[in-house]
Amino acid sequence: MELKDLKKISDYQWEVPVTGEMLVPGRIFGDESLVEAMDDKVKEQVSNVACLPGVIKASLAMPDAHWGYGFCIGGVAAMDSESGVISVGGVGFDSGCGVRTLKTNLTLDDVKPKIKELIDLLFKVVPVGLGSRGKIILSPQEADELFREGARWVIKKGYGIEDDLEYIEDKGFLDGAEPAYVSETAKKREKGQVGTLGSGNHYLEVQYIDKIFDQDSAEKFGLFKNQILVSIHCGSRALGHQIGTDYLKILADASRKYGIKIKDRELVCAPIKSSEGKKYAMANLCALNYSYANRQVISHLTRNCFEKIFPGVKVKTFWDLTHNSARWEEHEINKELKIVLVHRKGSTRAFGPNRKELPLKYRDVGQPVIVGGTMGTYSFILRGTSLGMELAFGSACHGAGRSMSRIQAKKKWYGEKLIKELEVKGIYSRTASFSGFAEEAPGAYKDIAQVIEAVHNAGLAKKVVRMRPLGVIKG
């Protein structure tokens, strides 16, 4: 992307000036080299979102932004509750996709000698890969209950403990989910998928904290050096894919019906207040709730594996977040508190301190922001800030962002060889697909440290700890 086309606001903020039919400016976060390296399409997609009816303040892109469909990946836009629209392009086909991080009372020294045993057991117990199914088969009535109650429902059924709920965004479920607006096809495709990891960039990783940036916040989060954590990255599985697919078509028709001018076919949308918009919002909540339930069941399976190998171990939920969502949130807009619909497509919610949505233990620190890196590098935990609330509706990045396509990655790396290379580096991995593994090669991603520095320096969120992988399972 050419920097000369952008207006520099600060070293880490760049404005896309209002032109043509843009209703608000675009704002891209990142240092010079990150923004320069971004595809031109990011600017185009940020500008297209800035044309959507009811968009508030600015159309945003996070430092890990890359070319998506409709919104860029790393795109954020808040919509006015009266005049705004809701778009599949702002959520994607894996609504609720996110990360759960579990914290243990184990250290690197405890787990390192047993990492192979642990990863082999996890790989056996957690269903991974194309077409994988779990053991929970829901009746139609149970499925509806799960869609409405998310993680709370699976915990009631014995897949977890009450304390887990406190540390899941939205306390594990969002009110207002309506299974009647989820198609029969979506419900059929769901069968047996709750508690499954999926494939692509989804993973389960055993990690240890190798660096602490902010001792005080780390302590409040209950994190310490060399502590073993587990991060689980996955979403709403085929249920979410089908809901996205169904409403892509419904909203394509709605865009024509309401005469909404869209710059990109993938930005099909409906007014929030229209019947199509309301139905999509309510169906989408089913997918979000399902994703919380999915990660909850996998967390439960993970906890069981740890207890088998490390009797007496404590495995608690540290935090669970989604980075693909459209949710109602309260934000200060022109010095007035307003409820707005925030779309985040590949962006983590990063609320600053004192928000009522945060658990009491974290409230004065800010929301934990978990950013997954590649399986060969590291991941980070940050905390949300008050400045981030002003700048970006409390949003941050969600990952490293790819720098190389899947096709190129497969030409450059082979799964089996990559697994051996990682093992030499002390990272033991198992996968359901060697070619899928090669596509996720660490070298196919941007340098996550640079993305994190940009988020930190822009003030969107502040670094707390860094984790290194010890063992990985991938679909």
């Binding site: 595809d39 890359h66 070319w67 998506g68 469909y69 409709g70 990946i73 994607g92 086909f93 894996d94 890969g129 194309l130 077409g131 096809t185 059929k188 495709r189 069968k191 999926g198 494939s199 692509g200 085929a238 894919h241 089908q242 996205g244 697919t245 892509l248 078509k249 394509a252 028709d253 024509r256 990109d264 076919r265 993938e266 099909v268 790819r402 720098s403 190389m404 396509s405 899947r406 096709i407 190129q408 359901a432 697909s433 070619s435 899928g436 596509e439 679909g475």
Partner: protein, 142 residues
């Protein structure tokens, strides 16, 4: 003539089908889609599924077709390798097609699984005649 292929996208994968007719381009586009997930050569034609879809225009019909195949495969735990569309019909409100997909029950030890295709998107979606041949292409979210 190359019948189908994949094209580059930073995060996902593009699929493209070529054909002497639009129908053939759609059929080959479906092959490119399933090639993302498995090794097509390993699939036997043991089961047959009928696919029916309609959309406001040809581009959206192509996405409907691919997504209908993904839904059927997901629901019935099948994987397809062979596709046939009789004719794409023009209707008052757009276009419709009746097609058949053939394949078998998904077997991870036999089919060399790669990655899951979540959905066909409207991104870089194109259907039309390029030179002598028709093409149908779009980006698949994986």
């Amino acid at each position: 003539m190359v019948k189908y292929g994949q094209f580059e996208h930073k995060a996902d994968i593009g699929v493209r089908g070529y054909g002497k007719t639009i129908e053939e381009a759609f059929e080959n586009g479906a092959k490119a889609l399933f090639e993302i997930m498995v090794n097509l050569k390993k699939i036997e034609k043991k089961k047959k599924v009928k696919i029916k879809c309609q959309a406001a225009n040809l581009e959206e019909l192509f996405v409907e077709w691919l997504n209908a195949l993904l839904s059927e495969a997901g629901i019935k735990n099948l994987i397809f390798s062979d596709f046939k569309i009789n004719k794409i019909e023009k209707e008052n409100s757009g276009y419709a097609l009746l097609g058949v997909a053939q394949g078998e029950k998904f077997n991870p030890t036999k089919h060399e699984p790669k990655i899951e295709a979540k959905a066909a998107t409207y991104s870089q979606l194109e259907v039309g005649k390029k030179g002598k041949y028709y093409i149908a292409q779009t980006i698949i979210d994986v």
